[in-house]
């Protein structure tokens, strides 16, 4: 170990080490044994070791995220898979996303343990396990977002027969798993790329620092595969969906005009506008979440491979990891909590949660007068 320092600090530091161990400023990766030193890239060793308090704060953040993710995604899987009214093809994708998010959650106890040791437990093997979980859940989650966008587009643009059936849904789910495989298996087997510790050296991900052609191409490919393609699909399907909704609204308005619906003419306009705005809001939320979750990671890896590496301090590289974990915790809220039947089921099973949702079967199907009726208490009640 000592030899290792001398390389970096120079001969002057060596006597200081002898004086007092507290005075020595450890560099990153100091506590990783000799035989595993190869997994730590030289870039990290140029930074002083991260204080143990940083490790503890990170562990605390991850503990909170773990609980949130476990509760949110756990309830989603439990309710969507056990209640009859929610057993539809579209909801299979929501379950699939929750499974990916739960996989990402499994990473979290590993990190918490790593944080206490301040190095990856199990070194290369532990690192591989951590990175495989992250890679499958990250890439799978991204493409599932795109698949959900596709399913919604199909359902909304042709409400008669556009709906995906269960066989097609199962195939699409299998597709999301296959989609996450190449960039998981290849680096795990060190065929192309490899998994290495990053940031505080307690988390692991694919290698974006090694300065060779192989790694650079790998980073570019994974950027396109797991970020650019899903994002393009999400944008495409939601914009198509928005167009379809606008078209339907316009046709309905034309029909209303033919029947001289004038008593509600002004109201109608407001109502239809709000449908479009509502769609735009939901679509934008999903897009924004994707951007928030994965852009930091994309930025860090692309900078590591092609840009100014001095920007990538250990703390800076931990931010993307936290970002994508936060998004995996929010997912169930965005996809499931917006679902009226899910809310109704939640209200039925866990009344203490205080979800106030009427059973959609008892609420009238219309979207203008009748639905609001039931909410407004009047004198004669």
């Amino acid at each position: 170990m000592a030899a290792n320092y001398s390389d970096d600090i120079g001969p002057m530091a060596y006597p200081m080490k002898l004086v007092s161990s507290e005075m020595v400023e450890h560099m990153m990766g100091w506590n990783i044994p000799e035989e595993h030193q190869a997994m730590v890239h030289a870039h990290w060793r140029s930074f002083p070791a991260v204080s143990k308090y940083y490790h503890f704060i990170l562990a605390l953040i991850y503990t909170m995220l773990m609980v949130t993710s476990l509760v949110g995604n756990g309830i989603v899987i439990w309710i969507f898979s056990t209640s009859k009214s929610l057993r539809s093809a579209s909801n299979m994708f929501v379950i699939n996303l929750a499974v990916f998010d739960l996989m990402m959650m499994i990473e979290m106890p590993l990190l918490i343990a790593n944080s206490f040791y301040q190095h990856p437990i199990g070194f290369q093997l532990g690192c591989d396990v951590y990175a495989v979980l992250g890679s499958i859940s990250g890439i799978g989650g991204a493409i599932t977002n795109a698949v959900i966008a596709f399913d919604r587009y199909k359902t909304i643009s042709c409400p008669l027969d556009g709906r995906i059936n269960k066989v097609q849904a199962s195939l699409l789910i299998a597709f999301t798993w296959f989609w996450s495989m190449p960039f998981t298996i290849l680096p795990a087997l060190k065929v192309w790329g490899r998994f290495v510790p990053e940031g505080f050296l307690t988390t692991c991900s694919f290698d974006y620092f090694t300065d060779d052609q192989d790694t650079k191409v790998f980073v570019a490919c994974i950027f396109v595969w797991s970020y650019a393609i899903p994002m393009a699909l999400i944008c495409y399907f939601y914009s198509q969906l928005f167009g379809a909704v606008r078209l339907h609204e316009r046709m309905l308005q034309e029909q209303a005009k033919k029947m001289n619906v004038k008593s509600l003419a002004s109201n109608k306009e407001d109502a239809s506008k709000s449908v479009e705005i509502r769609i735009a809001k939901v679509a934008f939320t999903i897009f924004f979440m994707f951007v928030c979750g994965w852009t930091p990671y994309a930025f860090v890896t692309m900078t590591g491979a092609y840009g100014d590496r001095s920007l990538l301090t250990p703390v800076a590289t931990m931010i993307p990891a936290v970002c994508c974990k936060i998004v995996s915790c929010i997912d169930p809220w965005v996809y499931a909590i917006n679902h009226p039947r899910y809310r109704a089921e939640l209200q039925k099973r866990l009344p203490w949660l205080g979800v106030r949702e009427q059973d959609p079967d008892t609420v009238s199907n219309s979207n203008s007068v009748t639905t609001t009726q039931s909410h407004t208490p009047t004198a004669e009640a």
Partner: protein
């Protein structure tokens, strides 16, 4: 004694009524099926009886509402609703605004019978409004069926724009239907097509002629086929079917369903040089398509005697493409199978499927038949009567409303 009883039954007028959950407002309608005669449409005439003390200065409003549903309720995501409700008529019923309003005979009788607390109201369907159609849901579909529905909603409120309350409002589902014109027309729809083959000379020709242009529900359709084979291929078998074309204009999509079909090898193969003349008989019925999703029906599902949706008629001078809502049309499709390499020869002959017009002999026969079914059903229902509050108008109060002329 028996004669007297039957006399009372004949004179009695059936009236449908429904009361608000709090029991203060009752709506009476003379019928629930309103006929669109293409050039004019039956008005919706009803009477509201209200406890005036209960109102305390508030007013009673009535609305004619149409609801389009063009997608399954359970597929609604992202806040999109696959249904649209449109108020196509609104009227203040109590206090009456137009006291010189022309009353229909039913309204006059009801007003006389129900006393000073009864107020009439009349709506007319907008000229272009679509007919009621229900698309048959599949077994696993939950929620309301797709289609075009109408209802009359009556509620108590301070002003027109104020929201009504469930306890003081009542909704009666009604249907708007189209009946055939009095004369069926003399034109016999027919189609003549022929088919040549890439690698051999000669053609197979097929002529299909129907025996009528307008059929009534339940009637047998006779399709006369003349196949003459001047090619070297032979016709293996013949398929003949009734196709229902459904166009859902609000989302610009369409589909078709085979509501009756027949396949025959009789007289087949039609060898080169031979010809075949044959008549196929088909009866398109709703009850033989009970498990087919998307088949268009005339109105409600709960009725046993529900029939296939009638063809949509467009009044003269209007383009059929202008029709809105759900547009239904029918054709007889004949397919000749000319072997694996020969392919198929297909032709479509359009026809109309409707209810007989009021006042014709066919109508009387049809009504008699329907009455028989209805009586049977009534007996059955009474034997295991369940009080379905949700069901809109099945409430028929015979005893109190036997409105024979002054006693």
């Amino acid at each position: 004694m028996l004669d007297l009883l039957s006399l009372v039954l004949v004179v009695a007028v059936k009236v449908f009524k429904k009361t608000t959950p709090n029991g203060k407002v009752t709506v009476y309608l003379g019928k629930r099926d309103f006929i669109d005669h293409v050039d004019y449409c039956d008005p919706i005439d009803g009477v509201v009886v209200v406890d005036t003390e209960y109102l305390k200065g508030r007013k009673v409003y009535s609305q004619l509402v149409t609801t389009y549903r063009f997608g399954r309720e359970e597929d609604e995501v992202m806040g999109v609703k696959f249904s649209k409700e449109m108020v196509i008529g609104q009227e203040q019923v109590v206090p009456m605004i137009n006291s010189k309003m022309e009353l229909t005979p039913v309204q006059e009788k009801l007003l006389k019978k129900l006393g000073p607390n009864a107020f009439p109201f009349t709506f007319s369907f907008p000229e272009m409004s679509p007919s009621s159609v229900t698309l048959q849901p599949s077994e696993e579909d939950q929620g309301k069926p797709m289609g075009v529905e109408y209802c009359v909603r009556t509620y108590v409120a301070e002003s027109e724009d104020q929201k009504s309350h469930k306890r003081s409002s009542v909704t009666l589902a009604i249907k708007k239907l189209q009946h055939a014109p009095a004369s069926r027309g003399r034109r016999l729809p027919s189609s003549l097509v022929s088919k040549g083959f890439t690698f051999s000379n000669g053609k197979i020709s097929l002529e299909v002629t129907l025996d009528k242009e307008i059929y009534y529900h339940g009637e047998k359709i006779a399709a006369n086929l003349i196949v003459s084979n001047n090619s070297r291929k032979s016709v293996r078998n013949i398929r003949c079917m009734v196709v229902q074309h459904v166009e859902i204009t609000m989302i610009n999509s369409q589909f078709s369903r085979h509501v009756a079909s027949l396949e025959s090898r009789e007289g087949c193969p039609v060898t080169p040089g031979a010809s075949l003349s044959k008549t196929f008989y088909l009866v398109p019925l709703a009850r033989s398509n009970k498990d087919v999703r998307g088949v268009a029906l005339d109105g409600h599902l709960k009725e046993d005697d529900v029939n296939l949706a009638s063809s949509t008629l467009v009044c003269e001078g209007k383009c059929p493409a202008d029709a809105i809502g759900i547009v239904v049309s029918y054709s007889v499709r004949v397919k000749l199978n000319c072997g694996t390499l020969g392919g198929e020869l297909v032709t479509d002959v359009p026809f109309k499927l409707l209810h007989p017009a009021e006042g014709t002999v066919e109508r009387q026969r049809f009504n008699a038949m329907k009455k028989m079914q209805s009586i049977e059903r009534h007996r059955y229902e009474n034997s295991l009567y369940t009080n379905e509050e949700e069901d809109n108008i099945v409430f028929e109060d015979f005893a109190r409303l036997r409105m024979n002329e002054p006693e």
